[in-house]
Symmetry: D2
Subunit: 235 residues, 4 copies
């Protein structure tokens, strides 16, 4: 059983009627709803307004894979909470960062780059599967389209990914490394570009399948009980 | 259910009494015996003396993961059989090449380097897990030893691996990238250094666990029904 | 001084008036003309109609970086010539494969995949620099356009590149890993997508700069006098 | 001309007679002394006791490649200075971290892992060149030895390196990824294990050659005048 926590800052859905109509249970609720139908997953949600920003030590200890959606409130996540998440990833917890979560604090701590990109509001996106042997690509077609998605464009300032699973094409002239994986210590991470809050992206079957695949791929294979420290060898 | 075929040239075990004593059912038989106890695997064997070098189109079509042990008879594998194996790997079949199989024809076709190395007969080896987040490292300690193993030493002429999962240390002064992964097309490969025919390496629980992990990791996630061809896009 | 050989099958330019008008000295002549102005390069040309397919052992021994353009006559390059080129790359010679040379024999031997892709005749291409720290990207803008280029589209069946330096976007809906690097043994390779024979791509200053950068990057750093062999360590 | 700054915390050499005997000008002085003989390098030194920890904005702006040696005083480098260094690396400055600098603040900021390892005081080390096509390996033998070096052992908690150029073997049973490269944004980094302060490692010709190669490899190819920011595309 994979213990999944879907974390969401949960701001846009409460502030804007049009977004609430798309995601009446919040983006986190939408993602929980489709994941919890999977027999090998046990899913809960957490949001920024909870104690410890919804990212307590206890919650993280009981989380195998953390899914993260954030956009307007990256700076409201405390440095302590961000550091806890980063530490748990290094110890083995999986992290799936969606859309504007490219800019979330834990990812910046773990990857060390500016995570900046170019963007534009609405465009048509096509995604191409460029790592067909990767478990996250299982059952995903070679190419699929999203009629409306926020355009993200290179240069995307990430470290060289372990794998580029999906490449994005945008009608008005952009490309983006849309699905990329990283490892840090014992933990695995997947960043996935689609998911602007105004569009029903997380209802798309192909997007759901990718997130399910990513959860299974990112589960810890060797989880540590504490962060690593330098060790002197004594014979 | 993962359909595993254990292929062995099966020569040393028939020629030499001392090797037959270590592997009375052949190396392939020893590997089959421990894999077939796994509930998610269906295992069969094939050997060089069978028709089509034991590597018929039919057998490969029914194989999800091919394990390969060879040493004395690499050149007796026909070019046709080697090309069939390489094509099936590109289409998605997993390939696990053990020990002196670094020099087998399919691996050379798929990797494009000389696959040469330095070697010496008997030494003590320690293996270090250097990719603790990799599924092949699941449950494997950070360091473990093999009291007797053939020494393989760098420079090992392989392409840059996708992952170096295990690094080998040898008492008399050698290091080796002992467990390495590659992808080609839709297929995944794992090369693993231990397994000289004179030593009971494949009876070691840690080695068995690594091979089991590798089988699960190398299963096809998107298998093609034919080799890829250039395709002209017509709107 | 970097000794560069520009190899071209040299067929289209002789057969078709419209192509000869674009490249009156052949594509190889055009590339030689701009490279030979560089103070650190000594450039010569070779073509398929020469003895040994223009790829004699002597020529390769005297070549630091081989540039390859081919399209219509991949099969007319002898297996012996292709094997010689691959061996020299493994020994340290640089190889720059341009446009339809994705399908040339030496690259297939060295990379082990089908090298297939999707294609369509004419489109507008934009290229994005996605590895700004790479020497091949020195002085190249973050994005530049080619008004007319043949469209190449994913899935491009290559092994995972060491670096993706350039990503291509095409107006009619395609993306492509347009500039990618590989190493095999002591040799370095760069594949670069632009360069359809009907368009004046090799007159573009940005394309010329990329090819110059690639020549400098691909020069041998440690060249071997013979191919590697397995070596037994004797104390 | 490559502008090199050799930064050293410069503590051991002042505190301990035996270390001062090995490095009477400090480790930084020793490294400057051999680098400044190179015609294409302009070298200066900086130490922790200078204003701004010796890492002022002005100095970093005038530095193409920063070499870093630190051990006892990682925490005395201010967070501001560490952040400045990391920002300059992302903008294109090269960084060469030596020996116990695996634990320096800028590297931790840039790489995101714990950078922990196992260690033991004195051992014999052999280094193997495992990326013979890499510019840092130019002119370096396939294997060389250091009679006395501090033992560093796996698991070394680094992100997957772009390249592992050197692998270390230690007599008492350890392996280590001793020479590894990373890129972040426009900057390139090389971590190199040898260089314990009690041993004359930086007088070894092969070690000097590696550091010279690394300086040339790490020079900026595209330097930014400011850190990147998210950019909205407006047509």
């Amino acid at each position: 059983m994979i213990r999944v926590t879907v974390w969401n800052e949960y701001i846009h859905e409460r502030e804007f009627e049009n977004i609430r109509k798309v995601y009446p249970d919040g983006i986190h609720g939408c993602i929980r709803n489709f994941l919890e139908k999977e027999e090998d997953m046990k899913v809960r949600c957490a949001t920024l307004d909870m104690p410890d920003c919804g990212l307590s030590e206890e919650l993280l200890c009981g989380t195998d894979v953390l899914i993260w959606w954030g956009h307007a409130a990256h700076e409201k996540v405390s440095d302590e909470a961000a550091a806890r998440v980063a530490a748990h990833v290094r110890r083995g917890m999986g992290l799936i960062a969606l859309h504007s979560a490219h800019f979330c604090k834990p990812l910046k701590l773990l990857l060390g780059t500016s995570m900046t990109l170019k963007w534009k509001e609405c465009d048509r996106e096509r995604l191409f599967t460029v790592a067909p042997s990767h478990p996250i690509a299982e059952g995903i077609p070679e190419c699929f389209a999203l009629e409306k998605e926020e355009l993200y464009c290179e240069y995307f300032d990430i470290p060289k990914p372990d794998d580029i699973v999906f490449e994005g094409w945008y009608e008005s002239g952009a490309v983006f490394r849309s699905g990329v994986t990283f490892t840090r210590g014992n933990g695995r991470m997947f960043y996935f570009q689609p998911g602007h809050e105004e569009y029903p992206t997380y209802y798309e079957p192909v997007i759901r399948r990718i997130i399910m695949n990513a959860v299974r791929w990112a589960r810890p294979v060797n989880r540590l009980t504490a962060e690593r420290d330098n060790i002197q060898i004594t014979d």
